[in-house]
Symmetry: C2
Subunit: 315 residues, 2 copies
């Protein structure tokens, strides 16, 4: 039976809001964000759906942490400092007190880990799957937010860490990757359930930035489109994890395998352009004339679309 919403607010949610006057104790119609002189506010809003973005059996404390983390990854990409969030939850009536409590536990853990507070939101009932959305707020110094639109010809294209683990980890969480050692599969599945937003990076000097959530090729495509520039990289230059290296070694078609890693998404690394290589980043390519993304394999252009790759010119 669905728990009493007032009790959920009082016992599970209000404790998540008590650290911040912005929340007004979750006792008001709205949250109040005082102006912060010298800063701009960065706001992002991502939603996750049971059966689409997380698996029906996933522990709900990991689901709520994932919800915060996919939103925090957007802040990381913008060079913003995490501040607080609003939360909308659509719960089926079959999800009782224990489910709500476990979800709130996950929020508490990651609020502490990332310096967040709950500012407000809404809880509603649905007769469909669970749907959760977070509206995440962060601060950047006035005018300092790194956009997707600033890439300039001659800049170096760089990523903050391994590409493709997001895709591999979804495969692992679904029970795939049978050829890999079980410790690799467990490590990858954990990464799927609990991505790590790269808030540890400094973006000073970056001309453009995005997080790798749709897949490296798609996200570099977003930078290319917003910047009106052409981005180029070679699949052999992508950093990959030890687990991905093991997996790659067993694949018969290396071009197809590298393409899968670069299109899979959910890596939550950061991709930037900058005149110099930034600390914590690794160069994978460059910004050139033209438009869109040019993907190469050992120097040869690959044409990549939804059907896969073929030798050709433009992703």
């Amino acid at each position: 039976m669905a728990p009493d919403e007032f009790e959920v607010i009082a016992r599970l949610l209000r404790p998540l809001a008590k650290g911040a006057s912005e929340s007004l104790g979750l006792m008001d119609d709205a949250a109040l964000i005082p102006g912060r002189p010298g800063y701009d506010l960065v706001i992002t809003k991502d939603a996750i759906v049971e059966g689409v973005h997380f698996l029906p059996g996933d522990p709900l404390d990991l689901v709520s942490r994932k919800l915060l983390r996919v939103n925090l990854s957007d802040l990381a990409a913008k060079g913003a400092e995490p501040y607080g969030y609003l939360l909308a939850c659509a719960w089926p009536a079959s999800r009782g007190w224990d489910d709500r409590a476990r979800f709130a536990e996950g929020l508490a853990v990651d609020q502490k880990a990332f310096g967040l507070n709950l500012f407000g939101g809404d809880t509603v009932t649905t007769d469909g799957p669970m749907v959760f959305s977070a509206t995440m707020l962060g601060w950047v110094k006035t005018g300092a937010m790194v956009r997707r639109s600033g890439a300039r010809v001659g800049d170096l294209l760089q990523v903050s860490g391994p590409i493709g683990d997001g895709w591999l980890s979804l495969e692992a969480a679904r029970g795939g990757l049978a050829g890999l050692p079980s410790e690799s599969r467990v490590r990858l599945a954990d990464r799927y359930r609990l991505p790590i937003p790269r808030l540890d990076l400094g973006l000073a000097g970056a001309t453009a930035s995005a997080d790798v959530s749709d897949g490296l090729i798609a996200d570099t495509g977003h930078i290319a489109a917003a910047s009106g520039a052409g981005l180029e990289f070679d699949l052999e230059d992508l950093p990959v994890s030890e687990d991905a290296r093991l997996w790659l070694a067993a694949q018969p078609d290396r071009a197809a395998a590298l393409t899968a890693l670069a299109t899979g998404g959910d890596d939550y690394e950061i991709v930037v352009t900058a005149p110099k290589v930034l600390p914590g980043f690794q160069r994978i390519g460059r910004v050139g004339e033209g438009a869109g993304v040019t993907v190469r394999l050992n120097g040869q252009p690959l044409k990549i679309d939804r059907a896969g790759y073929r030798h050709g010119n433009e992703a």
Copy 2:
């Protein structure tokens, strides 16, 4: 078949964002809200679910307008000036281009009516009912937001308009209220689908304020709890519409009928406390010692709980 999300963004959503640089053309990871010296930001987030907050057959342009309006009502209660919003939509794959287009049309109409722009958000797929949430932003002068927590003993309790039409209009939209003339039923059903946020009111001088969304008794209860004060009113002093007056006249149990109007919710009028009656408001009661809400009928206390009312002392 589900339409292509990139085409939905490009053709339906980007036009809703083009009036505001905050949206970065919906081409970035996040929205950028520049600081506004001398102002605080007010943020509210409400979600609506098909079959719960709107009826499956409701026209989707009215659904999207209702989504904006229930959130705008929270801004109205806080004395905030509408600014912009982020939107998260969970669409079933069965909802195609025409549904998305009609939803976007409603957003465009009310963006114009209320001076809003779309700043960002997320679109996801669900195999359950439609779920939509808006995160609504507004500005108030620094320190000027009217909270729920400021009611003081001796203040007058006031509302901005008729109470109970929210509940009656839901009944009408469901095909009820057979005893009323058809023009009343149509007028009420329209009000259910398209509430009017009371952004036209000035709240200068108000010590506490809330919108009447949960029902007058619940919402005055929220003010009482946040303020640590007791609120008192008499059901016979509530302003009601001409349609409600017609309906009331036909009810055998006047106390039960007035209680239904005062508990039903979705009125989207504003309830305030203030030392004097504010322009556009009507006095219905007062703030006294004690706690909670005391509801009377012709001077006699009524005890009201989920089961209905009885003669007694505390709501």
